[in-house]
């Protein structure tokens, strides 16, 4: 036989305390079959992201339904790490999500979790590919609470509520908040449909946070040119002729 493997380092993420303690109990029960060490226990996705970056974690037991950042979004951010941990989703009941997991051959746990299921899932746990995660999130369409980028090996989270505008530039999208700018590798069209309730399109290459629009004005000397000012932003953003009328309608209805 091989030399004994080092114990698997596990992080438990669930918003319900009894669910976390149940997982702890079951993991303790199967210690004989599968040596594990629980490196942490958190009740939300943000804390999970912090913890994973502070200490090495082999596998994350991740509840799907959590308030704020849900499990699927948390997994998407974790995936920005160069060496992401394995992820095992858990859920009490989620017909659509489970269907998507089966379709994409992603192992998941149904709560209440049984010891043998848990051992099997952990022993073949692996990290998820970006495409798989994308498929899973499509089955469960809920706008993310944060966008994320990997800067020098660390995940930087950008709260969607802080974003002033998103601007497409070549193969990147610039994300502008009052504090600074970020470059992310996503498509503007997908961002537009994901955050349809938050952002408005003002130009072929630009989405703005509708709640942060301060004024819309006319450019002097140009019949059709309009510009837009945002709260906390010096810069004036150009409104295209095509988007101007729809923009006005939407502003009125807000």
């Amino acid at each position: 036989m091989n030399a004994p493997n080092p114990p698997l380092r596990i992080l438990i993420v669930d918003d319900e305390a009894p669910a976390r303690s149940r997982l702890r109990d079951v993991l303790a029960d199967c210690a004989g079959q599968l040596p594990v060490v629980i490196v942490g226990e958190v009740d939300n996705g943000l804390d999970a992201l912090n913890l994973v970056q502070q200490q090495p974690v082999d596998a994350v037991l991740l509840d799907i339904r959590m308030p704020g950042m849900d499990g699927l979004e948390c997994a998407a951010h974790l995936n920005r790490l160069s060496n992401p941990p394995a992820i095992i989703f858990s859920t009490a009941y989620d017909a659509y999500a489970c269907q998507a997991f089966d379709l994409n051959a992603v192992d998941y746990l149904l709560k209440p979790v049984r010891a043998d299921r848990l051992v099997r899932a952990l022993s073949r746990a692996h990290s998820l590919s970006a495409t798989t995660l994308e498929h899973l999130r499509e089955a469960h369409p809920k706008p993310r609470t944060h966008l994320s980028v990997n800067e020098k090996g660390r995940i930087v989270l950008i709260p969607v509520a802080d974003i002033l505008y998103l601007k497409a530039e070549l193969k990147y999208v610039t994300v502008c908040t009052a504090a600074r700018e970020f470059l992310i590798e996503e498509s503007l069209t997908r961002l537009e449909s994901e955050f349809a309730e938050t952002f408005l399109r003002i130009h072929r290459n630009c989405l703005v946070a509708s709640a942060r629009i301060r004024e819309i004005g006319k450019l002097p000397g140009d019949d059709d040119g309009h510009f837009l000012r945002m709260d906390g932003l010096e810069e004036r953003l150009m409104v295209s002729r095509r988007q101007y009328s729809t923009l006005r309608e939407k502003i009125k209805s807000i």
Binding site: D15, E16, A17, P18, A19, S21, R22, D25, N44, R65, P67, G68, A92, Y93, D94, L110, K111, P112, V113, K142
Partner: protein, 348 residues
């Protein structure tokens, strides 16, 4: 209330395009024709001769009448019942009369029936049939009401069931007493959920059930779920439809508390005012609006059950009040164990 049947719904004209309705009409008309001919014919050969003769006129008239009724059916049913009956009869008389008029030259040499006879025959048969359909609708609909009430039986969210089971499992080793209590609560809840949705239940029992449910939710949500009860002025003996309060509170937890990381407070206010029982449930409005649809289904279910039990005497109002969502139910105050509305005639 004259035109209303047991379940307080309007009696409607039958759907004349339905096969069953057509068959009933056709068979009745044929039976009446046969009876009429039997009465006139002295012997069997004469019966056949006369029946065939009559059929040449009666069958086209019958078929065309059915076609006309089916074509006009939607319009007739949209009219007030009395007006609908009037137009139906007019149509049922007019078509045979016109057919008789039109076929007259073709049927030369045979017995020609006076138009007035044809009209009278059609009117009698038509009136009799409509009376029959009316009685039939009245007799059947209480059964429909009962079936509807059973079908609307509140269902537990699977999400809640499995999360609660999980929470109880986590307690079995560390705190067996709390686990026992939680299982007792679950037993009460499931007994009620599988009970008879048609009988009214005492308000205090419903409140106790809601408490059992909330204890289970508090087990898994902990401090995130705060509950305030205002039930000092509650008429404990009032009889209300079962499982109205619990699903409302379940909705409040699911939509108002669970999506919020910091949780929130659910406020229950039950009181008697002007001989009506008021039930008011408030919860904070969650910032993430991800599941509104389930909410509407649950509320539509409760609304329909209130309608079946109390007709228009009960109300359900949805009131978004800024950061708080309020559901307000008003039910007539009754202490009788039996149904106030005759929606439950115990006929089997």
């Amino acid at each position: 209330m004259k035109r209303k049947n047991h379940n307080n719904r309007q009696v409607e004209l039958p759907n004349f395009c339905h096969l069953g309705v057509n068959l009933r009409i056709a068979l009745t008309v044929e039976a009446a024709l046969v009876a009429g001919v039997v009465a006139r014919a002295p012997n069997v050969p004469a019966f056949w001769a006369e029946f065939i003769e009559l059929s040449a006129l009666a069958q086209p008239a019958l078929l065309l009448s059915l076609l006309a009724l089916c074509a006009a059916g939607r319009w007739l049913r949209s009219l007030p019942y009395r007006l609908g009956v009037g137009f139906t009869l007019a149509l049922a008389v007019a078509v045979p009369v016109l057919v008789t008029q039109w076929l007259k030259p073709l049927l030369a040499g045979t017995t020609v029936f006076p138009l007035i006879w044809v009209a009278l025959f059609a009117l009698l048969i038509g009136g009799g049939l409509l009376a029959y359909f009316n009685l039939r609708a009245r007799a059947l609909s209480p059964a429909i009401t009962e079936a509807r009430l059973q079908a609307l039986q509140a269902r537990i969210r699977p999400h809640f069931l499995f999360n609660s089971l999980n929470a109880v499992l986590s307690l079995v080793r560390s705190d067996p007493r709390r686990a026992e209590h939680a299982l007792e609560n679950m037993a009460d809840l499931f007994r009620a959920l599988m009970g008879d949705a048609r009988q009214l239940a005492p308000l205090e029992d419903e409140v106790a059930l809601t408490r059992a449910y909330l204890e289970l939710e508090q087990l898994r949500l902990g401090d995130r779920l705060q509950v305030t009860w205002h039930i000092n002025k509650m008429p404990a003996d009032a009889m209300i439809p079962p499982l109205v309060i619990q699903p409302l509170v379940e909705n409040a937890v699911y939509h108002g508390i669970e999506p919020q990381p910091e949780g929130g407070e659910i406020n229950l206010n039950i009181y008697l005012s002007a001989d009506k029982v008021h039930i008011v449930v408030r919860n904070p409005i969650a910032t993430d609006g991800s599941h509104h649809k389930g909410n509407r289904i649950a509320l539509a279910n409760i609304r329909e059950r209130l309608l079946l039990h109390f007709d228009l005497d009960a109300q359900l109002k949805l009131e978004p009040l800024g950061a708080v969502y309020q559901v307000h139910i008003v039910i007539p105050y009754t202490r009788e164990r039996t149904q106030p509305a005759p929606a439950h005639p115990h006929r089997r």
